[in-house]
């Protein structure tokens, strides 16, 4: 194992895949000369040249479209959106083109496209640069949706995303980029659709996404001291969703808390809860609960911002509320 930052881990995944396959290219704002707004492609332009690492104008709808076109021709583009919030501008390309063209062409074309983007609050980036919009994309058939938790997860999952023949929305949490994590030295990948139990327990299950997995684990360790054994599941991918792992865990614990930074209203936690209901109904010892971001535009003021997004303390409190 080696200790590297989350941003370095992304960079390594891109580097390894580009070295392996010359069809892998990068597109996005500042991905080339600057090396990425969050330093996730440092040195790659120098190493692979400007034809494979392309800086684009501020025109998300266009360069996501370019990415789709490149993917048609057999390239494996990795397109970066500077913030997930800019999905809105490119949404026609993402939802109506990338997601549907393999189906509409009767399988004549494939779209092996990865679109990376940072999500999440906590940096005072305000209402237009802090959202967690996984529900937008998970809602659309034809898109795979990945939310890695740690650097090691990010690296292994990104390599799988690039190798996938379908469009993958890859959402990185912006508060993680500078954090250091232990990452295996040797090459590895992490398959889609296999949730990961990061902390075992019998009293309650937490199904979490992105960096809230880490915070849920912290809360679980705190609750351990009080004799409350929480099982924490890193969902890893929302599409495909590993329902089996959640169901088996809930059958054991009888209680489920879903933790995701997206807006609660009409969000993914409600969908996950209902999608497993038939399987777990007679095993439930408490209503399924969820923790997410309040239904408000994310505030710029840190004091206000932190009060509306989930954190370790809120997870701890919610578990106590459910367990009683």
């Amino acid at each position: 194992m080696k200790e590297i930052t989350y941003a370095d881990a992304i960079c390594e995944a891109l580097d390894e895949e580009m070295a392996k396959d010359e069809n892998v290219i990068l597109l996005g704002e500042d991905v080339g000369i600057i090396g990425g707004n969050f330093k996730t492609s440092v040195g790659l332009r120098d190493k692979y040249g400007e034809w494979r690492v392309k800086d684009t104008p501020i025109s998300e709808n266009s360069f996501v479209g370019i990415g789709i076109g490149c993917a048609f021709t057999g390239l494996r583009p990795v397109v970066e959106l500077m913030f997930a919030d800019f999905l809105a501008i490119s949404m026609d390309q993402v939802a109506n083109q990338a997601a549907k063209l393999r189906y509409m062409s009767g399988g004549q074309v494939k779209v092996p496209l990865t679109i990376r983007m940072p999500i999440g609050g906590g940096r005072s980036s305000a209402a237009q640069h802090s959202q967690s919009l996984q529900a937008w994309v998970a809602h659309i058939p034809g898109l795979k949706v990945v939310l890695p938790s740690t650097a090691a997860e990010a690296k292994g999952l990104l390599k799988t995303a690039i190798a996938d023949d379908n469009p993958v929305i890859f959402m990185e949490h912006k508060m993680e980029y500078n954090k250091k994590y232990l990452v295996p030295k040797e090459e590895y990948t992490i398959p889609f659709g296999q949730a990961n139990i990061v902390h075992e327990g019998e009293d309650l299950t937490i199904a979490a996404t992105s960096n809230l997995v880490i915070k849920s684990k912290e809360a679980a360790q705190e609750l351990d001291k009080e004799g409350i054994k929480v099982e924490v599941i890193d969902l890893r991918t929302l599409v495909p969703l590993d329902k089996e792992t959640i169901i088996n865990s809930v059958k054991k614990t009888g209680r489920l808390l879903i933790v995701d930074e997206g807006y609660l209203n009409f969000g993914i936690s409600g969908e996950i809860a209902l999608s497993i209901m038939n399987d777990v109904f007679y095993y439930l010892d408490a209503p399924i609960m969820r923790l997410g971001t309040a239904s408000v535009p994310l505030p710029f003021s840190p004091a206000l911002e932190f009060s509306v997004i989930p954190d370790t303390k809120k997870i701890y409190g919610k578990v106590k509320e459910i367990v009683g």
Partner: protein
Amino acid sequence: MAETVIMPKLGFNMSEGKLVRWHKEVGDSIKMGEIFFEIETDKTTMEIESTADGTVLKLLVEEGDSVPVTSPIAVIGEKGEDIVDLMVDAEGKFERLNDKDGDMLVGVLGKQNSSKPESSSALNNSKLTPRARKLVADKKLDISKMKVEGTGFDGGITARDILRYMREHKEVKATPVAKKLAEIEEIDLCEVTGSGFNSKIMKVDVEKKIEEKNQIVIESLDSKEVQEVIPYTGMRKIIGDRLSRSKFTAPHLYFITFVDVSKLLKLKEETRELVSTKISINDFIVTGVVQALKKYPQVNSTLNGDQIVIYKNINMGIAVALENGVIVPVVKDADKKKLSEIAQEMRELVERARNNKLTPDEYSGGTFTVSNLGMFGIENFTAIINPPEAAILAVSAIKKTPVVISGEEGDEIVIRPIMKLTLSVDHRLIDGVLATKFINKVKELLENPMKILV
């Protein structure tokens, strides 16, 4: 006047008995001394005689049921006698002894079950989680009777609340055997699904759970193929527990000696014509050991907390191999008995042991044990002390062996029948010198067996 028959207590350690067979049915007349029923304890089966004359009015347990000792199991009286009062008493006592779990008796008595389990209104009026409802249905619980405190969402009752209540109030419906087995095997009865009447947990249910538990362990042993899984329970486990306790707490010290049994073999042949009872080599050995113990009573002792207790009487245990275990019947007061008496008694005990007919008194209270594997041809072995005793003698096969003896013309080699004895002693109680003296005394007696007879 009608009389209640109870499950008898046949030994100090007996806490429950299983009714194996009724010899009489309801309505049959019975005389005092007639065989009334058969019961099985943890080690043996016994026929029990009637203690009263009259007619069998009620049988309260069915064949195969296990109940604690002193539980009422039948009523004998005069034909047509009114036994309602007696039955109320019996029922009360039965419920007390069976953890208030009297539904078995209720069925037999034909009484109206006043509280129908799980009345739907009770279910609907209390807030139960889906999991709790499933638990109530699976275990056929009468939740309206249970004062379960709800700690769940909005004050609702969770499955955990019910399980906690059941644990605290011992509300699990299980047969006494199942309860005991679960206790020994550390199985939480709340996790066992009952297959008996009213979802009562039976012994087989617990065994199934144990098997599941073992299965998990066994599956994890990769590259080994499992042929058979045998539950480590009953006699096997009792033997295992007792002997590992002995071996791990009593520091064992071993002494081996060779015994020339030429004279003994000859004497045995001679006694065959003198005594009606057949006297075996083992009978001589046991009697010799008894005499050696008389000389060295410190060997006939036990460690009881901070006291070393030396016994006056010698209760000699003899290890008997069974099909799937070992049992040690005891010849009581062997120090007061002659060789022929010991031989006679041992023959009967061994016979009863092999037929599972020993009463608990017959296999407890020993002060020393002899374990003889000579008949299986073993040359030498060591035995683990049978707790709480202080020593055990392991007897091996007699084998023709060349030995050096001092003859008239110096040393010479002759062939003699030699038997090896290995004495295991608890070093906390017996030191090397005493052990040596003791085993040498046994050797001396067996090499000059006339001394045993005198």
